[in-house]
Symmetry: D2
Subunit: 339 residues, 4 copies
Amino acid sequence: MGKHFLGFALVSTMLSVTTTGFGQSGNVVKYHATMKDVKYVYGVAEPVAHVKSGDILETNSVDAFGNAIQKPGDSLSLVKGDNPLTGPFYVDGAQPGDTVAVKFLDLQVDGDQGVGALVPGFGALNETSYTPMLHTPLPEKIWFYPIDHASNTAIFKALDSNFSVKIPLHPFFGCIGVAPAGGEARSSIVPAEFGGNMDSPEASVGNTLYLPVNVAGALLYMGDGHAAMGDGEVAGTAIEVPLRTRLQISLIKGQKISWPRFENENTLMTVGAYRPLDDALRIAFTELVGWIHNDYGLSDVDTYELLSKVAKIHLNEMVDPNYVVIASIEKKYLPAKKK
Amino acid sequence: MGKHFLGFALVSTMLSVTTTGFGQSGNVVKYHATMKDVKYVYGVAEPVAHVKSGDILETNSVDAFGNAIQKPGDSLSLVKGDNPLTGPFYVDGAQPGDTVAVKFLDLQVDGDQGVGALVPGFGALNETSYTPMLHTPLPEKIWFYPIDHASNTAIFKALDSNFSVKIPLHPFFGCIGVAPAGGEARSSIVPAEFGGNMDSPEASVGNTLYLPVNVAGALLYMGDGHAAMGDGEVAGTAIEVPLRTRLQISLIKGQKISWPRFENENTLMTVGAYRPLDDALRIAFTELVGWIHNDYGLSDVDTYELLSKVAKIHLNEMVDPNYVVIASIEKKYLPAKKK
Amino acid sequence: MGKHFLGFALVSTMLSVTTTGFGQSGNVVKYHATMKDVKYVYGVAEPVAHVKSGDILETNSVDAFGNAIQKPGDSLSLVKGDNPLTGPFYVDGAQPGDTVAVKFLDLQVDGDQGVGALVPGFGALNETSYTPMLHTPLPEKIWFYPIDHASNTAIFKALDSNFSVKIPLHPFFGCIGVAPAGGEARSSIVPAEFGGNMDSPEASVGNTLYLPVNVAGALLYMGDGHAAMGDGEVAGTAIEVPLRTRLQISLIKGQKISWPRFENENTLMTVGAYRPLDDALRIAFTELVGWIHNDYGLSDVDTYELLSKVAKIHLNEMVDPNYVVIASIEKKYLPAKKK
Amino acid sequence: MGKHFLGFALVSTMLSVTTTGFGQSGNVVKYHATMKDVKYVYGVAEPVAHVKSGDILETNSVDAFGNAIQKPGDSLSLVKGDNPLTGPFYVDGAQPGDTVAVKFLDLQVDGDQGVGALVPGFGALNETSYTPMLHTPLPEKIWFYPIDHASNTAIFKALDSNFSVKIPLHPFFGCIGVAPAGGEARSSIVPAEFGGNMDSPEASVGNTLYLPVNVAGALLYMGDGHAAMGDGEVAGTAIEVPLRTRLQISLIKGQKISWPRFENENTLMTVGAYRPLDDALRIAFTELVGWIHNDYGLSDVDTYELLSKVAKIHLNEMVDPNYVVIASIEKKYLPAKKK
């Protein structure tokens, strides 16, 4: 026991120092994304802009359909590619083995409408390309969600009956990640060790996301804005919207993590992304045991036991090529952080 | 589409009527369970008491270890069987095809101490009997949790360091279920269609649990009291305690459900119990689509879409022979219930 | 390491002795099963006959549909219960902790026709009760397979075109098992530690099946005869037939196994039955490592390595409530058996 | 139903024509791979050679460890990267939507020794990076397998006892694949739609492999030679060897497949690669249903039923990031191929 935990201790110390540093103002880097320069893979590509550790990045994203679905009658055949990504942003000085931290300062729906869709071959209760069956697929359907900025809600309107209801907005990036390790390039629909299509509502204001740096400059991408999403994203889409955002980017030198992590003042959150969900959960929890063991000094079995009593699980999505589970613990249940 | 939903409509109407009826006082049936008359399977057995629809049942349960672990030095070898069950209670008039409703009126920890344990061959991050590997198993460990009734907390005390922390109590039955269908009898460690070891914190005050009746009298069992539990119950145990309880039992005649359901004033909750978690989630969500479609009149695809935007998932446990996921929706997102 | 292997050593020695003993002739016990006395669960029930260790049992089974599907136009609605079982047979002297060995001496298709069916909600490429989806189910279909005893074949006749082809017969019991442990009773469609609906073509002439004894008399059941079956039994049925059989039953006292095993002159075979297939495979292989380690004296890591080079996997079925994988090794790759 | 099958019909016709064409001799392209020019991802890279449809390719591969493990005492720390790949080979004229066919004419172990290893964090009975647990990992171990070219065998020698046994050689490429679709680049340890680390013993003499073309030139890679492998490759390695090979490459224009396929005179074989095994199996079988439906004219439900009676499943591996299952049927069970 203890195997998972080598080399974490310094990470946590540095993460702590860096988090404190977020309060300092950095330069503001502005970049406006359009469909002309979106990307469809996380990988090595020409940066659209450079940021320095501490900088504020102001940018935007088109929606998961490349803004192609605008009005009744528009069909998915208009979509050129799923999850067009803004980026990559080159983090100056970032090298493999470092960690990049992204603090979500502001996220706003960039428009007056969101879109939801039933996509044949996609969804937790559909047969899909990776869980294929012999049934006739469920048919394509599209729902439009007017955004009411005043009440901060989106409106669901049933297609088959006369019913509508307001849904509170919780804007977040469905996609945020960096270039993968080992020379891989991964589709914008995939979540994995490099982040990506995690569909984590945790990628939102108030939280900081840590991502492993795998290539020089880290190469940060984001997109797939969601105005709101149910746990599991079971039908395959959230309320898909363009977003405007302000992020603070920080670089943590010489510290390595294996999977993405989120943190805020009160909570530690670890990401597991794989199939089946059983393995996504195992990844998230071994990561959380390792984090606590190294930064807060509990033994691994004490940590395991404590998590069995107070951990929370957030099942983000079960529809993408990998499924995503977040394990978390409130810091109030932990000893003081190690110096 | 629509296949899952035949025959649900009347259930919901009846459930509605019955729920209203819970306010009425019934007779009080009292039964005191001891280790002399616990059971270790959900199945057909001599009833320990009879209850009528509307009756209040006051009873108790021993802990998951049969109260065998009391002090440092006690080992799991003292445990005669896992999850000893109180019951069965015979619900007068219940016949296969009916539904029994259990409203949790009161739950109290019946003692001053809870127990947690690392059980070799059990746990989400252990190799287990159903996910066996070749490693040396993690060793047995036991934690004792003093219960502070005044502050309504239990105290975690680390074994390997000098750390303790208070955990708020949320008492619930890890096990509650009825005799299975088809002449089966199932171990008290199994959750399935008949309920059982669901390890659902939803089995607690404020909620009503619906269970399918499979045999005459339904034959209700309960046990495995938990003072508090983390999502996933990842190390294999909660804070295991004896419980005292007051429940109201109601019978819904001629109405059939396939899987357990929970409900309260604000929320519909459906249970899926299987492996892998992927399938548990699919069960819970198809059940929820069916419930909403039948009782609230949304089409199945509108329901699926809406759930993708506002559903909640509670991953109860990933340690028992079947894993348990609860899918839920707040009623505020639904149309008015059908008459 | 080594944990899985305690207490196996004597088993193997005894198994060896007993296997030798199969050559001796025992008494012949004859029992004719009809639909009047079939059972639908593996559990404790009144024995239909007693057998002594070494006895020959001559008996028969109805088909998986209770012989209810006989001619075009017959539908699954005629079926009273799936997999009606012949038995139970009480093995005199068998006690929990013993092992019962069943040697398949003869198996004959008991009739001139087999049946295959597409059962809504059942099958590896269908949505099912445990992998539910929102699609319209595949419709019920029934195929009849004339048996040609002269050529020892069954004839597949396409429903939607004018094509037929002969399939060689390989008769075996889809169901064979004993009463489960711990007071459980399990449906005749379930395979698990007690055997049951393993759908193993290995349950056929030339092989010996070992089953753990969990209750006094073991209580052996069999049924679900198959004239032939593809790997995976993917559409949910084999060529379903009544069978006549001759079996030799032996009792191995004081020796305990955890999961069913098959053996013949050349091969060791272990059964894993669970979901997902990943876990069924892990069970089968840890069992095989344990068997080899204990009976043939290779270290566990040497065994693991050797299996990675020469093991065979037979994926029996992926359609029942648990999935079944058999791992095997030819004995020619092993050291001499320990005395 | 029928959804999976659009656009297959012409593929099959063309495949048929092309297969016939294999008999014709093409030019011979020779390329000698060394560790200086191996690749570690399937993706777009500078071709090492060009081949025309019909050409014979004579080349070689280093072993999965880059030939770094040569003698007792060598450790995995010497390995620079897993599964170094020979290639890519540019197939002249290949464009996305085409299919490339690789016929295995000759495969020879290129040396006198093979290597097997227990790699911490890798293997079906080990905790791994994607099925992590809290146990102490199994330790690294290495086995050397002398190759006896005269008897066409490799020799397993136990590390912990004095036992050795000969294993017949069956040389094949563990890795063979093309650049993935959608701009992805995938690690040489991954099997997926583009082929890759399928660990399929089917990639051997007598069979033809079909791969989808995703980029101009297809970009064919191969490596990870295996002298012999058990089903499942359960400990994580086969008998790892360098290989020499002769392959015939053919291009099938304008025909598209979704997943790799194998074929020989007698058998149709389809590949499914994903997690869990359940989904790999579903992929392989829906592919096989589609192939038969389109090329042999059976309806999809007749095909499904027939496969349930005569299909074979070969579980190639359960250790890589995706698991691989091959579903197959002997052509003797099929109608005449459609013209």
